[in-house]
């Protein structure tokens, strides 16, 4: 015996089964709690990495600030930073800022005096540098002179050797020429003498 189903009946059976396949409320609540826990763990983990990243960023920022400040302080205070140096614009900029704050005529006078003294120190420094420059130029010239002298000596030695070797070479040439000439001469014929004797 074969029972016949219609497709509608199969659909009905499927729908009925699907009704029973609903998630239990307890399971839904349990999973919701699990998810919340997981989310908190995740956000805690993220917070750690975020704070580490923020710390790194702050550290890098602080390092850059320290380097910039110390460079500015060095440029401002050093007399050896003179016109033409890389840090000189930084020095003058700092001085301009200082000048900006000198508002009263008295303070301005003091400021200009201070700046004049600073320029003087720079000039002295540049003069020292110039002195060193001149010393270096003199040293360079002395060394060039020494080098030329050594060159002259070496050339004269070469000439002497050449003069010694020249006669020997000439003799050699003469000998070679003679040998060539001898090779070019026709050989002496003995058979003529023999014929004369026979006659």
């Amino acid at each position: 015996m074969k029972n016949n189903y219609t497709e509608k009946q199969v659909e009905k059976m499927l729908n009925k089964m699907a009704q029973e396949a609903k998630p239990a409320k307890e399971f839904q609540e349990r999973l919701k709690m699990q998810l919340e826990e997981k989310f908190q763990q995740k956000s805690h983990k993220n917070n750690f990495w975020n704070s580490l990243f923020r710390f790194k960023l702050r550290f890098a920022g602080a390092l850059v600030a320290i380097i910039l400040t110390s460079t500015t302080i060095y440029a401002y205070n050093s007399d050896s930073v003179v016109r033409g140096d890389l840090l000189y614009p930084l020095k003058t900029a700092t001085e301009r800022v200082e000048g900006f704050f000198a508002r009263t005529p008295e303070r301005r006078a003091l400021y200009y005096e201070k700046m004049a003294k600073r320029r003087e120190a720079e000039i002295r420094n540049m003069e020292n540098k110039d002195l060193h420059y001149r010393e270096t130029v003199t040293e360079r010239e002395r060394l060039l002179k020494l080098s030329r002298q050594e060159d002259v000596k070496e050339n004269s030695n070469d000439r002497k050797i050449e003069e010694k070797e020249r006669p020997l070479e000439k003799e050699k040439e003469v000998k070679e020429k003679r040998a060539l000439e001898e090779r070019k001469k026709p050989p002496k014929t003995d058979f003529l003498d023999r014929d004369r004797k026979n006659m």
Partner: protein
């Protein structure tokens, strides 16, 4: 915390559908379905920062996670699941106790077994249509197939289920 509230809203809206889909695909095993659904949503919350509504709907996103998770699950239990259809049909015969119990219970068991003997893509269509309650358009969007093709596939699967149920009933009656 706003992010979790957002996720909770999605969870409440989509959890029953995902559960229905997983329940059918996990051989109507409630305990296994609960485990799998938990794992899927935990995975989803782990990667929730990667989800963007601009890229696609939450439904497609969670469905993709569910599908991949099921695939991994079946791959891991390939040996256990490797039952031939013939073997399955033998198990479809309800035992004496079931025969004695209500007719509806027998039918339900037969239907479960008939569904489990279907091919994966057909099981998927049945799961999405009847257990998740999606429309044909929604199924087409989720699977990336043509809507008409989905309609035809559903119709053919119903026919196949009908035939399987009839043959099962015939075998049971013969015995």
């Amino acid at each position: 915390m706003a992010e979790f509230e957002n996720f909770r809203k999605y969870y409440q809206d989509h959890m029953p559908q995902i559960y229905g889909y997983i329940y059918l695909r996990a051989r109507q095993n409630r305990a296994l379905a609960e485990d799998l659904v938990s794992e899927i949503f935990l995975k989803a919350i782990e990667h929730f920062n990667q989800f963007s509504e601009k890229k696609g709907s939450f439904r497609s996103w969670i469905f993709q996670i569910a599908k991949n998770h099921l695939k991994d699950h079946f791959k891991a239990r390939k040996n256990d699941e490797n039952i031939s259809i013939e073997k399955l049909i033998n198990t479809l015969k309800p035992d004496v106790d079931t025969q004695k119990s209500a007719q509806l219970e027998i039918e339900k068991e037969s239907l479960k077994n008939a569904i489990n003997s279907l091919k994966d893509d057909k099981q998927e269509v049945i799961a999405l249509r009847y257990f998740s309650g999606y429309s044909y358009t929604e199924i087409a969007n989720l699977t990336g197939e043509n809507e008409n093709k989905i309609r035809v596939k559903t119709h053919r699967t119903l026919k196949e289920l009908k035939n399987k149920l009839e043959s099962l009933k015939f075998e049971t009656n013969e015995e």
